[in-house]
Amino acid sequence: MSDSRVYVHAAAALGPHGDSVRAERRIFSEDPPPLELRELVKRVVGAPLRQASHLVELAAIGSQLCLQRLAFPAPENSAVYLGTGLAEVRKTYALFNQVLPPGPGLASPFDFINAANNMAAFYVARLAGFRARNLTVTQEEFSFEWALKLAHDDLCAGGLRQALVGGVDENSQPRAHHLRRIVLRDDQVMGEGAGFLYLSVEAQGARAELLGVRRFAPDMVSAMVRAWRRPDDAIVLLPGFRLTAGETAAFAAALPAARVHDYLTHCGCFHTAAAFGLAALFDDPRPGLYLHLNRDAGGRGMLIGLRILK
């Protein structure tokens, strides 16, 4: 592959409190209360999205905030890559209750349309006026990683110049079922939220460089970091929700002077929490090399490398 570079020009993270800036972030030690987004949608999007689901609202707010923070108007040939692990779990649940015995009634058109897994990416594109490539990736823990990797590779390949990449997931009730669905322990916080990055091949005005998204084996991480690291880089590890404390400590030990940043206290656990974690770095951007590491339930690992520029 060529040595094309991919840059981050804007970012926005929407947390389970409806938080989108540093002063609004909350630390959660238990599940966040239900999040009502209607007013925030009106404020950010400019009009209510009354036919849209909660998941669509999360994506709409996150993407619009990201684009509002961009220093230039995003062109309509910007692509959209959206990762979502569980997708529309609430609407699908509602449809089951509407349609399947013992409840049988007709499916609600709004619910049915919202339950299409690509509806959030459609709203993101429609609100932004983006008429280019539009992909929704759903691959459990790596839904966002894959969305980011496909965007990165397409940008490096040269056909595409800019893309909006995001991750979004919602929680659901009852809690016990949600935890089982995404394989969480009872002591983990059931989170939700969205994170978006606007990427471009243009270096000028960039706030960060996306170094890559790679599959990793534990013993390969320090070699990858050596290739990315510059002498004066501070290294910050962002452990994903599948890493155990022991694994995180082992990675930190293998990377001398690495600091660990636990963003999960702000957003809880969900498949695409990585999108929140990376985007929230731009609440208070500090130059350095940031590494997000996570595993899937099958033990595969993926690593995202990002350098926040001075």
């Binding site: 692990g85 349609v99 009634g105 690509n118 459609f122 490539r133």
Partner: protein, 385 residues
């Protein structure tokens, strides 16, 4: 990109049974796989036509999903003269609208036991891909794309890119969709089901007809050595978003035209190089009208013959990209183009009409179009020998 990708093997589970050959036999005989729905109850009273396949060879409940996928994969591998170990470093890219059918199968299975209604499983859609990868020993990239009716067409494009960029040598693409009470009721509530089954581009068309199918497509770089070959290649393609409306296309077909043009440009071809179009052709009044407008605008007076497959196979939603590719390539290899089942009366407003009689397979490239909800459109360009 413009680097052709070889289509080495095809596998299909459809209303015609197991295998591409059975579907080709059905299409050659002009036999559609249409039948009244009997598999499960729906909450509405009107009869509905579907294209079901026989589920009895597969395990009950949600375990059916990986089993059906692997059946299609084994056919694709056998056709390519390839053994499962060759997949070790391959990518697995699945395209699906949803696994509602599997969640519903699990729900019905558990409901037959004692107690109240079970909680729907509703697992994250990626679980099937991980399971299939583990069963087949695939250790390469694994991902699932879900972009409504263009899902598996997009999966083919993403897999081709992984090969073109040298990230993998081969990729297994699977399109999967099963019949679902939720989906049937949803489309019924949207007034998008034609009670007589779909009639693509017909003056009296009233909507779609849902089907279920799974197709597997083994892709490789042209230089990769495999003992056998389908003789077909993926020359290029494109995907874009029509932001006109959640469920309806820009009526002038402008976004559909744009995706076809982008696909041609990606393949390095001009409209005149296209010898055949496999239309999306759902039979829905507005969608077919926009698609006809797009074909007229792009091809003008030199519109190549076009055909639609959805009365034969049903609209298999997220699976239709891989399913209709497999069925069409099977027919072309057998030497014919199937006519458009369900079409009889030309619609004067469309000003164009699809194939009504079988034709010999043309030489030259074919275009396959897929237009989904949420404005997600994909166009593929393939060649066959």
């Amino acid at each position: 990109m413009a680097l052709a990708i070889a289509i080495r093997g095809l596998g299909l589970v459809s209303c015609y049974g197991l295998g591409v050959a059975r579907a080709v036999d059905g299409l050659r005989a002009g036999r559609t796989g249409i039948a009244p729905l009997t598999q499960f109850e729906t909450p509405f009273r009107e009869p509905v036509q579907v294209n079901p396949f026989d589920h009895t060879p597969f395990p009950p409940g949600e375990a059916c999903a990986p089993a059906i996928l692997e059946t299609a994969v084994h056919e694709a591998l056998a056709g390519a003269g390839c053994e499962a170990p060759a997949l070790r470093d391959a990518a697995l890219v699945i395209g699906t609208g949803s696994y509602l059918f599997a969640a519903e199968a699990e729900y019905r299975l558990r409901r037959t036991g004692s107690g109240g209604p079970p909680t729907p499983a509703l697992r994250a859609p990626g679980y099937v891909a991980l399971r299939v990868a583990a069963d087949l020993g695939i250790d390469g990239p694994v991902l699932t794309l879900s972009t409504a009716c263009s899902s598996s067409a997009n999966a083919l494009l993403v897999a081709a890119d992984l090969i073109r960029r040298g990230q993998v040598e081969r990729a297994l693409v699977i399109g999967v969709e099963g019949l679902s009470a939720v989906a049937l009721s949803g489309f019924h509530s949207l007034l998008l089901l034609d009670p007589q089954g779909c009639r693509p581009f017909d003056a009296d068309r009233r909507g779609m007809q849902l089907g279920e199918a799974v197709a597997a497509v083994l892709l490789e770089g042209e230089h990769s050595k495999t003992s056998r070959d389908t003789g077909a290649s993926l020359l290029g393609g494109a995907n874009l978003c029509d932001i006109h409306h959640v469920t309806s296309a820009a009526p002038d077909g402008s976004a559909m035209r744009a995706v076809m043009e982008m696909a041609l440009a990606d393949a390095g071809l001009a409209p005149a190089d296209i010898a055949l179009i496999k239309a999306h052709g759902t039979g829905s009044p507005d969608n077919d009208a926009a698609e006809a407008a797009a074909m007229r605008a792009l091809f003008g007076d030199d519109l190549p013959p076009f055909t639609g497959l959805k009365r034969y196979l049903g609209h298999t939603l997220g699976a239709c990209g891989a399913v209709e590719l497999a069925a069409l390539l099977g027919c072309l290899r057998a030497g014919f183009v199937p006519p458009t089942a369900g079409f009889s009366a030309p619609d004067p407003e469309l000003r164009i009409a699809p194939l009504v009689e079988s034709r010999p397979a043309p030489t030259g490239a074919a275009m396959l179009n897929f237009f989904g909800f949420g404005g997600n459109y994909a166009s593929l360009i393939v060649s066959h020998e």
